[in-house]
């Protein structure tokens, strides 16, 4: 699969503070990729550099195989949602979005259609003629999301897209982003790991300006190797461990974590473990595949901290 975004050796310092320290990242075309890291890890700086807003000290950025961002080379192919930026307050939603659409190469007619579609997507059709300054914070955030999805961009960077939205809108926006799966590459930076786990198929962890882990969601959360069984009461699993070679088991509270190696797969682990848990009346409550993204984050973060 070819890359939508390739970053090599990206460095950026603000005075003595190193924001990016030789970042290497590759994001495949068509992926919805979570960009995860603690505050100050360099996520927003990376987005800024890719979007041509921030000047890198060194390193290379390749967008869609056409080099670093140049609006003439990437006409309408790249868009982004920057973090914490105000929208022009005096114009209406329609005027603003039409302007952005035209600026990225849409004709007046195309821009009009796109604006209608995007406003519908973010549930703001009824406010199309309202001035930006009359909108609430959440509404402005949705306008900002709408501008990032205008036209037919092939690569979209979204920096904290759902911050400040109520839970219902967070779910709606997640569905909106998911509906673009396969049509474009979305890179989503967020601290909401549950949201990213539900949405993304790829993940990149960044820490101290470097990539600490990257891969598919299944790889990062070890979905092919780990199963988690939550039960009512802990039971002795030594007999099961002795009977099934290649399965490692450990309790984490009332959750039994089973790690398979060799030829074990999720269905075969289930076939071995579930009957046993019923047999010993453990009171099986929940089965989950792999680690949670939160667990993966904790582990990778602590490894990076040394």
């Amino acid at each position: 699969m070819s890359a939508a975004l390739k970053i090599r050796g990206l460095r950026k310092s603000y005075g003595r503070t190193v924001a990016l320290d030789g970042l290497d990242v590759t994001i495949p075309k068509g992926a919805i990729c979570g960009f995860i890291g603690p505050n100050g890890a360099g996520k927003t700086t990376t987005f800024g550099i890719v979007g041509g807003l921030i000047r890198a000290d060194s390193g290379e950025v390749d967008i869609l195989g056409k080099g670093s961002l140049a609006p003439q080379a990437h006409p309408g192919l790249f868009t982004m949602l920057p973090q914490d930026c105000e929208l022009s307050p005096h114009v209406s939603l329609r005027q603003l979005l039409t302007h952005y659409g035209r600026l990225q190469g849409l004709t007046a007619g195309e821009a009009q259609k796109e604006v209608d579609a995007r406003l519908d997507e973010v549930a703001l059709t009824d406010r199309a003629e309202a001035r930006i300054k009359t909108l609430s914070h959440g509404m402005r955030r949705r306008v900002a999301i709408a501008q990032a999805l205008l036209g037919s961009p092939k690569l979209v960077l979204l920096d904290e897209p759902t911050s400040g939205l109520d839970p219902e809108l967070v779910l709606r926006m997640r569905d909106v982003f998911a509906s673009h799966r396969g049509k474009r590459t979305l890179v989503v930076s967020s601290h909401n790991l549950l949201e990213l786990e539900a949405l993304c198929d790829h993940v990149i962890f960044i820490h101290g300006g470097r990539c600490t882990r990257a891969g598919t969601m299944a790889e990062v959360t070890e979905q092919g190797l780990i199963m988690r069984y939550t039960v009512e009461k802990n039971v002795d699993v030594t007999p099961l461990e002795q009977a099934q070679a290649g399965l490692e088991m450990a309790w984490e509270g009332t959750t039994l974590i089973v790690r398979g190696s060799g030829s074990w797969t999720a269905p075969t682990i289930n076939a071995a473990v579930v009957p046993f848990l019923f047999h010993v009346s453990a009171g099986l409550l929940e089965i989950r595949r792999g680690k949670s993204l939160e667990d993966a984050y904790r582990q990778i973060h602590s490894e990076a901290d040394g």
């Binding site: 807003l53 105000e86 114009v91 501008q147």
Partner: protein, 295 residues
Amino acid sequence: MNHAQSIRLVAAFDLLESLRSRKAIVLLLLYLMGSLGASGIFIRILVALRERLEEEIGQAVDMKQLMESPGMARVVGGLTGDLDVAKAIVTIPPMALFYGWLAMNFVPLLVLFTSSDSISGDLSSGAVRYSLFRTDRISWALGKLVGQTALMAVGVLVGAVACWCTGLIWLDKMPVADTAYWLLRISGRAIVYSFAYLGMAMCASQLTRTRARAGALALVIMFIAAAGGSIVQVEPLVEQAPALFQVLAKLFPSGHHLSLWHPHLSRSLPAMLGLFAIGLAFFALGFWRFARRDA
């Protein structure tokens, strides 16, 4: 999308945005009211002068004849130091002449308040970040410059219309068509003259990323330009090295002021080009920084 299309789109949006902002509307209204008030005062002075003159010589005075008389040309020639310019000036209807003086003195101030935050405002609010991945920086900044020039032109023309209307209502025997024609011509010159100052405001707007700093910096640049322009025209200094000071004077807007009124294009066109070049040079200086900064 080519550069020209991007510039046109950014300029049109910038003008729309400015005209819908309370600040620009208030400033344009203030300028309009100032034009109306100053025109009214000027008409009163003009009428009072004519009445006084009529009382003294005991017959009706035709202001047009008086303005175009050789004596008046000599007086204006003495003031301007150029008889050709003086002869051209005395043929301009008084209302248009007055508006030219008003616009060239006050539009640079108007520009200071309307345009110094044009780019710095977008930098401080972050609004610039929604545009710079869609178009390149030079097209965006030039679009802003064109948009602010259009806003300034709107201000100058609205003031000219106000001046014309005031004259039509209060001034007896105002040459209606001639005044309108000259107001239009003089508005064009005022726009060209003020463009040099607009370039300074846009320079400051690109050098800083807060509105207050940009305003203060624009004021400092304009003050230095005005003071510098006056200093290089001080006679005892000019007499020391006339050629040098003649060239130095052309680096400041005031050095082109008089030539703008010259009847021959061979003198007025270089002045217009000079003013345009000053504005663009300041804009380019600001852009040099803007092109390299983080947005």
